[in-house]
């Protein structure tokens, strides 16, 4: 038995290396494909020597500075507001029933694809949008929509709002999961018995303890907000657009040699994201330092219902915006004609659904299989890495795992070009393994992110007890650790699945045009700007992740109830 155990732990030791190997190829190829053309090298397009022309050409692009500034500003603002809203909401509402239910309320929002939410939001808040239509022309007198930039405003505020409706639920869920890892209740009780109001207690003794656990998700949000393309195309200003869109357009330019300055632009964007994360880290340190005297001065601040309602109201309105936005898209899918200023369609039809439903089955199946495969694989790898950490300690491979977050930090378009080249070299492009692999690059970081903290916070005494009782690592893992961690494991799986469902560019690049997923259909059809079709795809696209999220919530509760019934 002893030798068997050794074998087990040695095999486990390999998992972080396997994970790294799976990742390093495409990650390095991706980075090289970004970096090399940025310095003039891409023989396929005649670049056979190193030089700085790409950078020169990049800096000659008009509006570059403003584009970079816009990315930095919207990214930082969106992240800052996300964090303020989430912490404000948690500190004010942590005692309420609404708070305890928020995980179930918010999960569906995570499942809805970014673009769909953005388009729904745009239709809500545009000058000709649904909110204006509700009050026009009888109240506003606007027989024509007013000429005001409520979306695509030059400050990028609509973009920030669009990012918020997606990122607030994400960070809130991450915070909820972090809250389960510390003795929140007792800590709060202690602080409150010392006279601190619930808000002050949460901010002073809970937040500082959980912040380290949600730091990485916050960085991911920051990087995402700064490099998002699809949402920005719908909501961001156009002249100039944010850097991400500018770089994307350069990559997609009909002049193929634009790949050179585009690659330099991607490098610039990478540096900008790195700088923003650095700045954020610095801010964290300064805030922590500045807040210490405030924390210790004895302020017990009693803030009553108004604050509580304000934060609750803010987060609820965000949720309402995305829900109502998605619902109006749903309305659109049944509309034949629906023109300004009507608040409801003037002619209804089922024809859009009837026409598209038969075409949905194939892509839905592909999406489902792909998502299940990528999320399962990511889950196995993440569990392997984490379990190895527990059994063998943090080795050199574990320390290198941060590299896996790179796919989230580098602009997708640049990075994927290199990964695609690697797949073609390996003769794998357009195959299932390639596609699953490409999805894994983006799915794994989120799965790992969602699972790492709960797993590391798992009380080792359970494991030791179980080991002593069963004498088997496998049985301990499958009978004790996995069942006890079922909730976070399924939750991580659901997040991974939703990330896979949302993949567009990686599907296009690795799939070689052989695979059509719901998102591919949705994004390509979205370029036709037909809100009815977008409505159909937004709804169907959200259904699959919703089912998986539902399972992640219902299954553990169901199993627990069955267990309880059996115990009785």
């Amino acid at each position: 038995m002893k030798s068997e155990r050794h074998k087990g732990s040695r095999a486990l030791r390999l998992v972080p290396w396997i994970t790294l190997a799976l990742f390093l190829g495409p990650v390095l190829a991706g980075l090289a494909a970004t970096a090399l053309p940025a310095f003039g090298y891409l023989p396929a397009l005649g670049g056979d020597q190193f030089n700085l022309h790409s950078w020169q050409r990049l800096f000659e692009v008009p509006g570059l500075t403003r584009a970079a500034g816009l990315s930095l500003w919207t990214g930082l603002l969106a992240t800052l507001l996300t964090v303020i809203l989430v912490f404000g909401f948690c500190s004010a509402m942590h005692d309420t029933a609404l708070f305890r239910k928020s995980q179930i309320i918010l999960s569906p929002l995570l499942a809805t694809p970014h673009v769909a939410l953005a388009i729904g939001l745009a239709f809500l808040i545009a000058p000709s949008g649904w909110l204006v239509r509700l009050v026009s022309p009888w109240l506003t007198g606007w027989t024509r929509p007013p000429d005001i930039a409520m979306v695509q405003d030059s400050l990028g505020l609509a973009l920030v709002l669009g990012l918020l409706i997606k990122e607030v639920p994400f960070i809130l869920l991450m915070t909820l999961s972090a809250l389960n890892q510390v003795p929140t209740r007792e800590t709060l009780l202690t602080a409150r018995s010392l006279g601190y109001s619930p808000v002050a207690a949460w901010l002073k003794v809970v937040l500082p303890r959980i912040y380290p656990q949600i730091r990485l998700p916050i960085y991911a949000v920051l990087a995402f907000s700064m490099s998002v393309v699809d949402v920005a195309v719908v909501l961001a200003p156009t002249t100039p657009p944010p850097l991400s869109v500018m770089v994307f357009r350069m990559f997609m330019d009909r002049d193929l040699t634009m790949i050179f300055p585009a690659s330099a632009g991607a490098c610039l964007q990478f540096l900008l994201v790195a700088a923003a994360i650095g700045a954020w880290r610095l801010g964290e340190i300064l805030v922590a330092r500045g807040a210490r005297p405030w924390m210790l001065r004895g302020h017990r601040k009693r803030s009553g219902p108004p604050l509580y309602y304000a934060w609750g109201g803010l987060v609820i309105s965000l949720v309402a915006l995305s829900v109502v936005g998605t619902l109006t898209l749903g309305l659109w899918s049944f509309a034949h004609t629906w023109f300004y200023p009507l608040a409801l369609p003037s002619a209804w039809t089922l024809s859009h659904w009837l026409r598209h439903l038969p075409d949905l089955a194939g892509p839905a199946l592909t999406t489902l299989l792909l998502g299940l495969a990528a999320a399962s694989l990511a889950l196995v790898l993440a569990l392997g890495c984490l379990q190895n950490e527990r059994v063998n300690g943090v080795g050199p491979a574990s320390r290198m795992l941060w590299l896996l977050y790179l796919p989230l930090l580098v602009p997708q378009i640049a990075f994927l070009f290199g990964a695609q080249m690697l797949l073609v070299r390996l003769d794998l492009d357009g195959t299932w393994p390639a596609l699953i692999w490409a999805h894994l690059l983006f799915v794994f970081p989120y799965v790992f992110l969602a699972l790492a903290d709960p797993w590391r916070a798992f009380d080792p005494r359970y494991r030791n007890t179980a080991l002593a009782l069963t004498g088997s690592r496998l049985r301990t893992f499958f009978r004790v650790e996995l069942p006890m961690m079922l909730k976070p494991v399924l939750f991580a799986f659901a997040i991974g699945f939703a990330v896979s469902v949302g993949q567009y560019l990686s599907t296009i690049f690795a799939g070689g045009g052989r695979f059509t997923t719901l998102t591919v259909e949705a994004v390509t059809l979205a370029t036709g700007n037909d809100r009815r079709v977008i409505g159909i795809y937004a709804l169907t696209q959200a259904v699959l992740p919703l089912l998986v999220y539902g399972m992640a919530i219902v299954l553990p509760a169901f199993l627990q109830r069955r267990q309880e019934r059996r115990n009785r």
Partner: protein, 222 residues
């Protein structure tokens, strides 16, 4: 009705559904007195403490009133009740140093950084922990942590003290020492105290009245 000084539980009942967990009870704890609550698991000891803190889970229903020095606190949230609690776990905040944990407890009315720091240092001195101000709670022994936790509670100027099996995790020898330490400080400040424990020796050392909760065992976790 004239209320005595100290803690008064007036006609308190707590029930869970149809089950009367705590039948009507009226109880006075005089200043400096330590009343011990004992009883097997599941008889409602923790429920009683939660009731006193105002943190009873919604499934429970309670009636009656709580007075501290004649002040009705039954409807107040925990932070306004001026109750000091010590748990089995010391719950020192790991993100603050030992000294900062104490500063955190000092009332707002104590002004000035130096004055606040002096008070914290003084409390450490009293606990025999002079020089531990900058230490992180994680580096302290169990006994040291228990003493810091008590000092922290006392610094917040509570009007009564609740002790929730505060010595259960300490070994026998340390237990006696810490018990003496805690009881001495409570006596010095003449605080009405409610002690919940499993250990009859705690009750004996407390020397106050003993309240035994229902001997009947239920399978419900309170």
């Amino acid at each position: 009705m004239k209320h005595p000084d100290g803690l008064l539980l007036h006609r308190v009942t707590i029930s869970l559904g149809a089950l009367a967990l705590i039948p009507e009870t009226t109880l006075t704890v005089a200043p400096g007195e330590i009343t011990t609550v004992m009883g097997p698991s599941g008889t409602g000891k923790s429920t009683l403490l939660n009731y006193l803190c105002g943190t009873l889970a919604p499934a429970f229903s309670a009636s009656g009133q709580i007075f501290i020095h004649g002040r009705d606190i039954s409807a107040l949230p925990i932070e306004k009740r001026r109750i000091g609690i010590l748990f089995q776990d010391d719950l020192l905040f790991p993100h603050m140093s030992v000294g900062e944990n104490l500063l955190f407890a000092l009332p707002r009315s104590v002004k000035g950084r130096h004055r606040r720091q002096d008070l914290a240092e003084q409390a450490l001195d009293e606990a025999g922990l002079a020089g531990y101000y900058q230490r992180s709670p994680g580096t302290l022994s169990g006994g040291q942590r228990a003493r810091v936790a008590l000092m922290r509670t006392l610094l917040s100027n509570p009007e009564i003290i609740l002790l929730d099996e505060p010595f259960a995790k300490l070994d026998t020898e340390l237990r006696t020492v810490i018990r003496q330490f805690v009881f001495a400080h409570i006596a010095a400040r003449a605080l009405p105290t409610l002690l919940v424990t499993h250990d009859i020796r705690d009750a004996e050392a407390a020397g106050g009245p003993l309240l035994s909760l229902g001997a009947r065992a239920t399978d419900h976790q309170s």
